[in-house]
Every structure is written in C-alpha cells, then in structure tokens.
C-alpha cells in the first residue's frame, strides 16, 4: 500500500465510521491505517488554532452521513414515514451497506433487502419491530421502482383505438409491449394505504401481510402507482415478457382458482383502462 493510499484509507475510515470521528480514527489506527511515522491524529492532520484535527475531520464526517441520509430520506419518503425513527434506520443501513457506486441515486438500491432481513437493526438498538421492517421493505421496493421509471426512455403510447380496431379473433396472436417507464411488482404486503398516508402526511397503519401486486409507471411527466389483482399482474407480466395475448391468457388461466370466463369477460375493460393510461408502446 502506498503512503497516499494509506492516508486516504485512514481518512475515509475516520469520516465514515458510524460512531463518529474519534472512534473512526481509533478503528483506522487499529487496522494499521495510520500513516507511517504517525502515532497520533495530530501527526496526520495538524489542525489549526481554531479547529482541532477531530473537528476538521468532523466537517467531512457530518457531510457524509447527513448528506447521504438526506438523499435516502427523499428517495424513500413513504418507507421512512412508516418507521418510528426512519432517520436512525437509514443511518444503520448506511453503516451496514456503505456506498460502492459513483452515483448517489444508487446508494439505496440495497435498502429493501436490508430492511427485509432487518440486518443490523437489532444490533444497533433500532426500535422497529420485524413486522414493520418487512412491510417497510415492500414500500421501499415500490419507491425504488418509482425512481427507476423516472429515468427510462420516453415512448409514444398506443391509443386504445388501435387495439379496438383489431378484430377480436386476431387478439390471441397479438403482442402488446408496455412502455419502458413501467414496473410490475409482486409484494407481500398491501402497501397502498400506507403509501397514501405518507403522501397525505397522515399517520400510517401497518400494512397487512398478504400477497399484493402493483403497477408503477411514468405518465404525463409524473410517476403513478396503482394496485393490480393477481390475475391482472400475471397477464401483464406475461405480456411484458413478450408472450402473445393468447399465451398470457393461458398462463393466467393456469393460476389456481381462476375463472377463465370471468377473465375473458373483464379483459376488455382492463385494456381500456391500461391503454387509457398510456401503458403500452406497441401492439402487433
């Protein structure tokens, strides 16, 4: 390790340590990162007559934690709304899953899985119970998807009239592709009421643990979400994977307890609503 690398590792360890600069410096020293010839922090960072070395490092430490937690809190506003102490949870996440990406936008990618496993929470004395953490994980998945659709390319949506003009007997062979700015989610909590509560800034109830499905998309310059039922999700997911409408119907009909007649009967209304929301980019 060069002297420069050693110095950089020392400083980064000091300013990103979850328990503060003093502990960070001690940990860095324990890990042999104190630069050659230095026996104390002042041998590395002299400070000045107004700020000690610890205070100078503290400026960077403050920026690290607070800036990233602020970004995460903005990205996961509904997730943290559900939690008693979202700030503490995000700090614990950052401590357990430090950023390894050049963009702040991706720092939160691991949050849903981390919440689901409640990793590190107990050891850091976080007061959230496991059920809340698991529900928060599902909300975080939705919020990650809402971020993802924001950055997808634009595509001109196909009007419902295009589909309606195709004779019904040809529908079985149709391939209907969704716009890129769309995500389908299969969740284990009914998160819509809690997310609406966060949006409206009213207290959120703990989402019930049950299978739930959701569509997230960008339309008209905004991001939207709406719940799907099991059959709608199965059909939509099959279409999104490239299946023909006939194949998608077959896949959906194979689900346990599906009434094929009802499914076919409702299909027209589903498509009318979905096309009306601009969710499809091609029909052919």
């Amino acid at each position: 390790m060069t002297g420069l690398e050693q110095l950089q590792r020392f400083m980064l360890r000091a300013v990103t340590h979850p328990d503060g600069v003093e502990r960070g410096c001690a940990a860095a020293a324990d890990e042999g990162l104190l630069p050659d010839g230095a026996s104390a922090l002042a041998d590395v960072i002299p400070g000045n007559d107004r700020l000690t070395p610890e205070e100078q490092l503290g400026i960077y430490a403050f920026a690290y934690v607070d800036r990233i937690v602020e970004v995460l809190a903005g990205q996961f506003s509904a997730t943290t709304w559900l939690l008693d102490d979202g700030d503490a949870v995000l700090r614990a996440y950052l401590a357990d899953v430090p950023s390894r990406t050049w963009t702040l936008d991706r720092v939160g990618d691991g949050l849903p899985d981390w919440l689901a496993q409640a990793a590190g929470a107990a050891s850091r004395g976080i007061g959230e119970d496991a059920a809340t953490m698991r529900a928060a994980a599902d909300i975080a998945r939705v919020e990650l998807a809402m971020d993802a659709v924001w950055d997808e390319p634009f595509a001109d949506p196909v009007a419902h009239e295009v589909l309606a003009a195709i004779p019904p007997e040809e529908w079985g062979d149709l391939r209907v592709q969704p716009i890129p700015a769309l995500r389908l989610l299969a969740l284990s909590h009914a998160v819509t009421p809690a997310m609406n509560a966060a949006r409206d800034e009213v207290p959120a109830e703990l989402p019930s643990e049950e299978a739930a499905w959701m569509c997230v998309y960008r339309g008209g310059g905004s991001r939207w979400r709406f719940p799907l039922d099991r059959e709608q999700h199965a059909l939509f997911a099959a279409l999104a994977s490239g299946a023909t409408l006939g194949e998608a119907l077959h896949t959906t009909a194979a689900l346990e307890g599906v009434d094929l007649e009802r499914l076919v009967g409702e299909l027209g209304e589903w498509f009318r609503a979905w096309f009306g929301s601009g969710l499809f980019a091609s029909v052919g």
Binding site: L4, Q8, R9, N48, I68, P98
Partner: protein, 274 residues
C-alpha cells in the same frame, strides 16, 4: 474571445441547470449565456432531465462539471463511469468537461464528497498520470477545479496552488478557478487570497465559479446556498481583470431560489467583467 492556451471560448455568464428550474428554462427566454450541468445527474437517465438538457442545448452552450471522477483516488479509474461520461459529452456536444481536484472514495467505498488531496510529490505524480489517461480517453482537456478544503495534512510539501499549477502544467490540463473556493480555503487555513491568486497559471484558466458559502466564524463551508458575498465579488472582479474575461458560472445548489434570483447574480457578475 479566448484568453487561454486551449482556445476555449469565453462563454459569458451562466448558471447551473437544476431540476427546480426545468420548467422555467423551457418556457421563457433566460438572461444567461450558458448552462453547466452536474455530469452525474444526466449520465444514467433517458427521462425528463435528458429531454430538458437536449432542449436547453439547442439554444445554449453547455459545459459538464462532475463530482465523481475521483481523480485523486488510489483506486483504479472507473472505466464504466468514464465511458458514460464520454458518451454524455459527445451526445450533448459540450463546450468542455471537468471535475474537481479531489478524491471521493477508496477501497471501493464511495464517500460522495470532495476529499482533499495531500499536496505532495507522490500525489502529484499519481494525479498527473491519471489526468493524462482520462484526457486520452475523453479526447479533450479536463477542466479541473480548485477545491474548498477544511483540513490540511502534515504530509503536505507545498501550497495548494503551487501543487495545482504543477499538476496543470505536467498533465497539460485546464483549470476552473472557483473564486469562492479560493476564499473559503484561504479563510479555513489562514491564507491570503491574493497570495493564492498570485500562483494561478492564468493561461490555463477557462472558467470561474461563484457561489455563496456559510461562515461559521471558526471556518467556512462551501454550501452553495446563498448569495455571493462582497469579499468574493471583489476577488472575482480582480480575477476578471487579470484574465481579460473568463466564462463564469453562478452555482446555487441548496435552498435553490427562483431562476430570476440567479439571473440577478449573473447580472452582478457581468458588471464586474471587462
């Protein structure tokens, strides 16, 4: 008119293209000469930010200014990041591109901050070599900005501006002189800003930055969330007279005000240009 050795133009006075102003800059004429983007905000999106950027580019020059190059880090250069950076620069046909004299992480761990480089011979060799590699990949000179720093290292072997001047000379890169950073760094380390400016290799300066900072008494933080202070305006006026006119950007990244406020700051900058 160009006063730098790279022949890069004086673009006038610009502002940063920030999301709260997306609608405003598309809906009505703006009283600014160019826009600067934070490169990373547009590198991984095909959504609305890219649409706005392409619209803006049709009517104005755009320069790219990044925060994640980490030119001072001892980690290997991130080739995927560099590929995306170049793709954006080519797509937007930017007037120039750059980043900061700093490092942002090490050992694969990113701190998402602009950490200071120790001003040593070792770090100088390291950074010069990396700048050459990046400039080769980008096919254009890098425009690197002097940082705001909040600490110094015992290992420092020379003043910051001497190190930066040697870096620019040995790597043959361009400089972005952030006048607010000069002020903040000099306040934090009890230096004389005019002595700092005396060491600037002016023929390599292609752009100035101006911003507000937060004065905590014991130290200043480069917060980009306020008006440019009088002391920085005075330094800026001196710099502009010294260079004969350099492209200038008003930075405002926190508590972002109405676009008209930025236009007002741009007007103040114009009044101080030769």
């Amino acid at each position: 008119m160009s006063t730098n050795r790279f022949g890069l133009p004086d673009l006038g006075v610009g502002v940063g293209l920030r999301m709260p102003h997306f609608d405003r800059v598309r809906q009505a004429p703006v009283r600014v000469d160019f826009f600067e983007i934070i490169s990373e905000n547009f590198m991984a999106t095909e959504g609305r930010p890219m649409r706005v950027l392409e619209d803006v580019r049709r009517d104005h020059p755009v320069v790219m200014h990044g925060v994640s190059l980490s030119i001072g880090s001892t980690d290997p250069l991130d080739r995927d990041y560099l590929r995306q950076l170049k793709a954006l620069a080519d797509r937007i046909d930017v007037a120039w591109m750059g980043d900061h004299v700093c490092w942002t992480g090490v050992g694969g761990h990113n701190g998402h901050d602009l950490y200071p480089v120790p001003y040593t011979e070792e770090s100088l060799r390291h950074v010069v070599e990396r700048i050459k590699v990046v400039q080769g990949l980008m096919g254009r000179p890098l425009v690197l900005e002097n940082p705001s720093t909040y600490l110094t290292f015992a290992a420092d072997e020379m003043p910051e501006i001497e190190w930066i001047a040697r870096m620019a000379e040995e790597a043959d890169c361009a400089l972005l002189l952030d006048v607010n950073n000069v002020y903040v760094t000099c306040r934090n380390h009890c230096l004389d800003p005019m002595e700092y400016l005396a060491g600037v290799p002016w023929d390599r300066v292609v752009q100035n930055h101006l911003a507000g900072h937060t004065d905590h008494g014991t130290h200043c933080i480069d917060t980009h969330d306020d008006f440019v202070c009088d002391a920085v305006w005075d330094l800026y006026a001196w710099v502009q007279q010294r260079t004969g006119g350099t492209a200038t950007l008003i930075e405002w990244d926190g508590d972002i005000p109405a676009f008209e406020v930025l236009e007002g700051e741009a007007d103040k900058a114009r009044e101080r240009r030769p």
